[in-house]
Amino acid sequence: MPDVSLIALTAQAFTGLVLGGILVLMAIGLSLIFGLMTVVNFAHGSFYMLGAYVAFSLLVLTKSFWATLVLAPLVVGTLGFLVERLLIRRLYGRSPDDPLLLTFGLSLAMVEGVKLVWGKVGLTVDPPRQLAAPVDLGFMTFPVYRLFVIAVTAVVLLALWLFLEKTNVGLIIRAGSRDALMVRALGLDLNRIWLLVFGIGIGMAGLAGVLAGPMRGVYAEMGVEIIIECFVVVVVGGMGSLAGAIIAGLLMGEIVSLTTFFAPKLAEIVVFVVMAVVLLVRPSGLFGEAGLAE
């Protein structure tokens, strides 16, 4: 066993929070899209990957990290609009397997498309100069960029919560995920709401990719790796449950991070073991309502 100092352990727990934050940003979008339109978006991870690549190019173009941070999710979110409008919309009313299959094909095409445009070799992105240095927290030092990622995640989650709880559109979204037929019967245009939610979810995936790039590198397979982790998060948290996605995402981040510390080889396996245990003990997930879209 390595020399366990409390400070090293705390640092690792912070790293877990960063990883968890990225997972939460991804899983919430996935969960929101599923809750509203019962579409499991396999390509969600690929939009995360695309976010990281677009950020790389925008950084070269604009030379400003802050502009990139805003623009890249918008670019990716706009692509999300197009995908919903041109592809996924055709499949509403068919088996929920069909959008999953379609987006699987899409993610396959996107992985190769990205290699075609940006090359097969992975890219590296530097964090902005203002955030590159480590900060002294009094009892330990920690990279500022990672604290920044935690802060951005928190701000985005707060904004999303305010949007869903305090605005009229948010009200329609929540109503639509409970009973789409009734919302339509009340004369509301759900197609536009679906388009919007899909765009928001994809934009959040893009943002997660932008944030993850400087920490984890930018490569074509990063999307499929994270989508599988996200699936674990939504299975553990309960699909369609935002609180579940947040808690399960943070939990998974901590579990991976702390296992990496104690037994690096097991880090990739332990999330699946946790998932299996949750399935045995609480089949509907920690926060899932049994029977939701099953």
Binding site: F34, T38, V40, L87, R90, L91, R94, P96, D97, D98, L100, L101, L102, F104, G105, L106, S107, L108, A109, M110, V111, E112, G113, K115, L116, V224, I228, F231, V232, V234, V235, M239, K265, E268, I269, F272, V273, M275, A276, L279, L280, P283, S284, A293, E294
Partner: protein, 321 residues
């Protein structure tokens, strides 16, 4: 005229599936550019056949069938390369056993969640096996793959047969795949097979009819894993190596694509799909480095516009005319 003859042919093939299969695949290796492509079509067709039993006939979409293909491949490979088993039959049997046990365990866990979760769970557990194989390098060879699988002569009553010639190996695989195809036909024609299709069409009604659908789904899952495991075991012998990618999600994705290209829920769809995919990949990779991009786009077009797949579209048209 040509269309009518064609429709008649597909109708006859659909009515006599086993005879058609036996005849067609007896001449198949002489129709393709090289024999090993024919063997690949047989083995991947068998893999897709297993997937099709679960998705096409029972309505359960698994995104993790690499797990059972990989378990079959690794167990057979480890038996021959590490445990020094000399009987191919025993090694194949161990491969099948590993796939069945793995299928029963994972199937039990995945069936605790229904609907769309099922696909995610199967994918997650398959990826877990991939990571285990990746890290257990002593047993599996890890990232380098399991190498040095000896292809012993096949023991038959009173004699033994070398499988080194590609055609000899093809016909060895052919006999086993024909048995598997006949087995699938037997399953589909049985009351059990009828209930599986009832579950696909309307699982609530199947429950109302008094069937224990979770047990039947699990049984379908295990049979499906058995076919996938046999395919994996045969592929380990064909390649004499098991790459760790055998367990990777991309392998699961391949079998999904093949089955849907050919036609999910149709008897020959998996083989038509496997042949289409492998020939496409073989030809495309000559011209385009990023050929999976083309496959991905074709696959999306099939999901959108041809959900019955090639064989499904051909046979429905044949019946209608």
């Amino acid at each position: 005229m040509i269309q009518r003859a064609f429709g008649g042919l597909t109708a006859w093939v659909s009515a006599h599936p086993i005879v058609s299969f036996v005849v067609f695949f007896a001449i198949f290796p002489f129709l393709v550019p090289y024999e090993s492509l024919a063997t690949q079509v047989l083995i991947y067709g068998l893999f897709a056949l297993g997937f099709n039993l679960l998705y096409g006939y029972t309505g359960l979409l698994s995104f993790g069938h690499a797990a059972y293909y990989g378990l079959g491949a690794y167990a057979t490979g480890i038996a021959l390369a590490k445990l020094k088993v000399t009987s191919l039959w025993l090694a194949l049997g161990l491969g099948l056993a590993a796939a069945v046990v793995g299928g029963a365990l994972v199937g039990f866990l995945c069936l605790r969640r229904r609907g769309i979760y099922f696909a995610m769970l199967t994918l997650a557990f398959a990826q877990m096996l991939y990571f285990i194989a990746f890290h257990a390098a002593d047993l599996t060879g890890g990232d380098d793959g399991l190498r040095g699988i000896p292809l012993h002569p096949l023991g038959l009553p009173g004699t033994s047969l070398s499988l080194r010639h590609p055609l000899a190996f093809y016909f060895f695989a052919y006999v086993l795949v024909v048995l598997a195809v006949a087995g699938l036909k037997r399953i589909l024609d049985s009351p059990f097979g009828a209930v599986l299709q009832a579950i696909r069409e309307n699982s609530d009604r199947a429950v109302a009819c008094g069937y224990d659908i979770n047990r039947l789904k699990l049984l379908s899952f295990v049979f499906s894993a058995l076919f996938a495991g046999l395919a994996g075991a045969l592929d380990a012998l064909r390649l004499t190596v098991v790459p760790v990618e055998a367990l990777y999600w991309s392998t699961s994705g391949q079998v999904v694509i093949m089955t849907l290209l050919g036609g999910a829920g149709t008897f020959f769809g998996p083989f038509v799909g496997a042949a289409t995919y492998l020939v496409l990949a073989d030809r495309l990779s000559i011209f385009i480095e990023f050929w999976p991009l083309v496959i991905g786009v074709i696959f999306m077009a099939f999901v959108l516009f041809l959900p019955r797949g090639i064989w499904g579209t051909m046979t429905t048209r044949g019946v209608q005319r």
